[in-house]
Amino acid sequence: MSSPSLFKAKVIKNARLNVEHFILSVRPEGIMPAAQPGQFFMLGIPGRLDPLLKRPFGYFRVKEDALEFLYRLRGKATAIMSVLDAGDEVEIIGPLGEPYPLPKPKKVPLLVAGGTGIASLYPLADAFGGEALILYGGRNSDELLLTEELRGICRVLGLATEDGSVGVKGTVIDLLKEFLAGKNKNRHVVYACGPRGMLKAVSELGLEGYVSVEERMACGIGVCLGCAVKTSTGHKRACKEGPVFRIGEVVFE
């Protein structure tokens, strides 16, 4: 795996998908880092004191010589990101963390995304060359992003919204349970990314596969021990041993 580097990048575009969601496209100074699905980057504005720390964002894709991140407005840092313009400079560290492992032959990849969890699963679906099944849930239609593009890179796309505005009414867990009903679970390898509650629920279904966790991070490179995740074998670093963990490894409380 390629080792991480620290680099500056110029914003090419910061496209607003809807009220809360954006795609940031940046062109790295120097060579394009070779990231794998599941890995992430720490992104910040150089020289700023508040927010001071960089923030983690999943590797989404490389398109037209630009490294892209799909992000949602949350707090301080993402608010500042949302007003970045073409030409602005950002500072990035990456690629970081362990990627999603690829499935054993003959198992069908089943991707389970909640909200912005789709950001790291999108390139994974792409890597499976149209073979993956995707189940994708959000609170409302605004949280289901890029559904047309997703349809083009997977075998089946199942959608769920809590308000019922698109797809099945309910959570992505409801959708997953419905999908699995009467089927042989062992045919699939699950890859899940989304809020903690969703990952916990996925982990309780006795499936084989992986979850990608979102922990607060200070450094992203493994030196601060701030991103500890409780696992069956003690604390592990989400940024180094993770963010992708085998289902059953993370102890959700």
Binding site: S3, P4, S5, L6, G44, L49, D50, P51, L52, L53, K54, E91, I93, E215, R216, M217, A218, C219, I221, G222, V223, C224, L225, G226, C227, A228, V229, K230, G234, H235, K240
Partner: protein, 304 residues
Amino acid sequence: MSKRLEVKIGKLTLKNPVMTASGTAGYGAELSEFFDLSRLGAIVLKGISLKPWPGNPPPRIIETPSGMINAIGLQNVGLKAFIDEKLPFIKKFDVPVIANVLGTTVGEYAKLASRLDEAGVDGIELNVSCPNVKKGGIAFGLDLKAFYKLIRKVRGCVKQAILIVKLSPGAPDICEFSRAAEDEGADAISLINTIPAMEIDISCRKPSIKNVIGGLSGPAIMPIALRMVFQASRAVKIPVIGMGGIRAGEDAVKFLLAGATAVAVGTAIFVNPRAPINVIEGIEDYLKRFNVEKVSDLIGGLQL
């Protein structure tokens, strides 16, 4: 290489006055992917205890204006794994290695210090100022009598390495503790450790970190650190290693002027893993710009 940046801490000569701060550089391996560790004045490694410690339950960190609060709780691999698995890697670099230790009793500190001394580290930093562990540690940094006893005992165990005592910003009188460390034979003192602090998440009315209270670090604490380094360095003749919020050469120069002989870069590494290198280069720039012959000319050079 020019000796312009050289400083001395006890019998150790550092090629420049910039170190990592304990707990912000791990055991060196991760940072080595971002720069050549041999460029550092010294590397100070993550604190270790006699037995491995699991650390505090998450969440352990929260960002606050111009800083962050952490309650890692000294998660570490323990003395044996440190010597067997971590030390060999870092010893390959041409850089003085300083181990940071934390015990719950005088006996534990003594054992840690003598074993590390035998294992060939260049320096031992006694952490008597960690706000995040329940027993020991900071208790020694706040109680002058216990502090004297601890330093005396440990001094007797350390033959080869230099002995550094890391002071608590909560010490009732920083000058008194600094003098106590000097009296008992410490080669240097370092300060400041993080400042006890907290943050609240109003959306769920809970503390932002599980441990409720953690230690504040980063640029937010720099003016306090600078004041304490100034006071401590006037109280003693041994070198002072200053830290707290240093990000750039200019910050380091302030600490040197206040009286520090060397500085450590901590939280800034999280923002930019190459921060210690930026600090070294920033100090060099300052020397050139202001026509200062060597860095040691800056130490305590504050004009009052």
